[in-house]
């Protein structure tokens, strides 16, 4: 073998490696298409389902639900679930974006409540109104219908709800002789809550009045939009077209000023450790119901639940929202996909998931099968979810709204000017809406 042949061989090997890679890739995608397309009459229909990875209990719930579904529909439908890593970021959403570009969305897709409008406006999920009777819809708590509806059509069904309540440390409350309210009409106002924090905060012992920063992303909008709502405004108009005059309205500025006051007086920790409240270093905690699971690891912690504090001038309100399931416009088997959506969100599954991960159910009927929710402290959660909770704004420009609102809140909490920060949110949001969504 002379040198020339060596060279040719080498080049050939390199070329084959590359072609091999690319043909491998295209080969597998062809396979996928073939199996998606030929799932016809005699063979069972294959329905694909994507959802983001969650904690162990939730993942297990889904695995069991899928297994039960496949057993019940043997020979007719095969449900294939793919769990996508999410981490603490937008990896799942990025994967959806990529799938949209390449037309490879699964039949059934899990999506976070506030994304419904964005996905619906883009036409990547289909309306489900014709598949649900009014009676079926009436069983869902109002906030689930609210978050799943865009432009008058219903797109996505939540398996569970969520809520934020004010947890309190019983020992600290007892020390100061404070009795938190147990009736919704007596819920603490901001001023009453402020007094409680003032009395309980103890810098020398490292105890904060409250703990309310879960993360600095979606949590900020999810939890703190309620201060705007409770004060009689919101962060955007109801139709989602305008933030000017809402997020930076007088009531809005008042709400932000209240949060700023807490920050200025160091009543909460802007960078808390994840278990500050659990370790007795915070007298109260504005936290999600899912936090309850974590409390169980701290036997010394005696905790109670009271209502989300309300504006002195306004109503009690509380956050809501959850991951929901919808059907993609790529689906060729809508009828079967509807079966899947209905199965996943039925009363039994809603109750089962609620118990598994300590979140409120999305169906009124499911609450009946979880007696804990009829007594304190869990009764507070049920009352909030079924009567006063609000979904986040339904707008296709939500990604910009939540990012800018969260940034502004953090800026305000670390000392930025309230009015100019909120004005900037309004300006950027309105610009974004006008540029990309106003038609």
């Amino acid at each position: 073998m002379n040198m020339r042949w060596m060279k040719i061989l080498l080049a050939a090997i390199m070329a084959v490696t590359i072609i091999g890679c690319s043909s491998n890739g295209s080969g597998s995608s062809e396979n996928q298409e073939a199996s998606g397309g030929t799932g016809g009459s005699a063979e069972p229909v294959e329905i694909t389902f994507w959802r983001p990875q969650a904690d162990e209990a939730e993942d297990q719930f889904y695995q069991e639900a899928v297994k039960a579904f496949n057993e019940a529909h043997e020979g007719k439908i095969v449900l294939k679930m793919e769990t996508v890593t999410r981490g603490n970021s937008f990896a799942y959403e990025d994967k959806i974006n990529a799938a949209v570009a390449s037309n490879t969305l699964p039949d059934v897709v899990a999506l976070d409540g506030p994304n419904v409008a964005n996905y619906a406006a883009s036409g990547i999920i289909i309306p489900l109104d014709e598949y649900f009777t009014q009676e079926e819809l009436d069983d869902f708590v109002p906030s689930i219908i609210q978050q799943g509806t865009y432009n008058g059509k219903f797109y996505a069904v939540g398996l569970n709800e969520s809520s934020v309540v004010l947890f309190y440390n019983k020992k600290i409350m007892d020390e100061h002789g404070i009795v938190p309210p147990t009736e919704i009409d007596k819920a603490w106002t901001w001023d009453e809550w402020y007094d409680v924090m003032k009395r309980t905060a103890d810098p020398d012992r490292g105890i904060f009045g409250t703990n309310m920063i879960n993360d600095k992303g979606e949590w900020m909008t999810y939890a703190f939009e309620q201060f705007w709502i409770s004060n009689g405004t919101d962060i955007v108009s109801e139709d989602g077209t305008k933030a000017e005059g809402y997020v930076n309205s007088e009531q809005g500025i008042e709400a932000a000023n209240f949060l700023k006051k807490l920050a200025d007086e160091k009543l909460f920790n802007i960078d808390p450790t994840p278990t500050e409240f659990e370790e007795g270093k915070a007298a109260t905690k504005l936290g999600g119901t899912w936090n309850i699971t974590g409390f169980e690891a701290y036997p010394d912690l005696e905790w109670g639940i009271t209502y989300f504090p309300r504006s002195p001038k306004g109503q009690v309100t509380s956050p809501s929202g959850s991951w929901a399931v919808g059907i993609s416009s790529n689906s060729k088997h809508v009828a079967e996909a509807v079966e899947v959506v209905k199965w996943l969100t039925n009363k039994e599954n809603s109750a089962r998931l609620a118990k598994a991960i300590n979140v409120p159910a999305s169906r009124k009927s499911a609450f009946e099968s979880i007696p804990e929710y009829n007594e304190l402290p869990m009764r507070v959660i049920k009352e909030q979810v079924t009567t006063v909770s609000h979904a986040r704004p339904v707008t296709p420009a939500y990604p910009v709204l939540t990012q800018k609102f969260a940034e502004a809140l953090i800026d305000i909490m670390v000392g930025a000017d309230v009015k100019s920060s909120l004005d900037n949110v309004a300006k950027v949001y309105d610009q974004e809406y006008a540029r990309n969504f106003a038609e």
Binding site: M1, N2, M3, R4, M6, K7, I8, L10, A11, M14, A15, T17, I18, F90, D94, N97, V100, A101, N118, Y119, S122, G123, I124, G206, K216, G217, N269, I270, D271, P399, V400, Q403, E407, I410, D411, V414, G415, A416, S421, E432, R435, N436
Partner: protein, 311 residues
């Protein structure tokens, strides 16, 4: 093996010489050359040139990532908006500020460290490893660790300051300190890499030069000034160039530690592009920013080359 191959090639040389004219052989060599270029060329085209070409095209469109079927040509709209967008200028300023501080500080520190660990002392290897270990740790991990170090209430750094009687600092939570805090961490993380390159350069300088210089009575500083630095000139140019390129791409640290805040003081161009393109799904606008960013980087590299050449 090399030897036999050469022998075989030489043995066959007269035969091929007879069969092929010089021109033909040249052409064959060219084909051979291109076929070697093909794999790398394909990859570069596919993953660098093509995407950039697409970004250039998309820069003139309105393109929502979720609506790839509805790409609309909008002419210069994105560029006109870009030049009125205060966040663009803010991000550009932050990027340049970071680069302007990090490049000299990091390279200077790296050179000093390299000089230190180049000495024949005990435990030198230990120091080399210590300075280099942050480089091989994931930036994400380091960024998360430093969030705890920088914690305004009970972070390690504040505990030290407190013990020294200095009031607690807000670090990442203050518009005045956030970027500098990121700079400090970045320098600490990456200086070990440049140190390694400088160290390799230092060890290539002949000992005789130093011996001759000390015989001529040059002190340590003069040796550094007139022997070490000039001998390292090419290495310094290389290190400055790669550090600059890395610095303008700053993304991970602000993405993890501050998400661009507070008050946009740590928003860099890379983070701005990411948020517009992937979080807000404005692929058209993000493409336009990328094109402008590209032009800025090219200008910056030319400037740097010119500065360093003219000496």
């Amino acid at each position: 093996m090399n030897g036999t191959m050469q022998g075989e090639a030489m043995a066959s040389a007269p035969r091929s010489h007879k069969m092929l004219s010089l021109r033909k052989r040249k052409r064959q060599e060219a084909i051979m050359g291109y076929s070697f270029l093909l794999p790398a060329g394909l990859l570069i085209t596919l993953f660098l040139i093509l995407p950039f070409g697409l970004a250039f095209v998309f820069g003139f469109t309105r393109f929502n990532l979720l609506r790839p079927d509805q790409i609309e040509f909008r002419g210069l709209e994105n560029y006109l908006f870009l030049f009125t967008d205060p966040l663009f200028y803010r991000s550009l300023y932050n990027t340049l500020y970071f680069t302007a501080i990090v490049v000299p500080v990091q390279c200077g520190l790296a050179l000093m460290l390299a000089l230190l660990v180049n000495q024949k002392l005990r435990l030198t290897n230990l120091f080399r490893i210590a300075y280099f270990s942050p480089v091989i740790t994931s930036m994400t991990v380091i960024a998360i660790l430093w969030i705890y170090l920088y914690n305004p209430n009970d972070g390690l750094i504040n505990s030290f300051l407190h013990a020294l009687g200095i009031p607690k600092q807000p670090f990442l939570r203050s518009p005045d300190q956030a970027m500098n805090s990121i700079i400090l961490m970045s320098v600490w993380q990456a200086a070990g890499y440049q140190m390694m390159i400088f160290l390799a350069g230092l060890q290539g300088i002949p000992k005789e030069l130093y011996e001759a210089a000390s015989m001529d009575g040059a002190n340590r500083f003069q040796q550094l000034r007139y022997i070490t630095i000039p001998s390292l000139y090419n290495v310094i140019v290389f290190v400055l160039t790669i550090t600059t390129i890395q610095a303008v791409k700053l993304f991970t640290q602000p993405y993890i530690m501050t998400n661009g805040g507070p008050e946009n003081t740590t928003r860099t161009l890379a983070l701005f592009i990411y948020q517009q393109g992937f979080q807000f799904r404005n692929a058209g606008y993000a493409s336009a920013i990328s094109v402008v960013f590209f032009i800025i980087v090219v200008l910056l590299s030319f400037l740097l080359r010119k500065l360093l050449r003219d000496r």
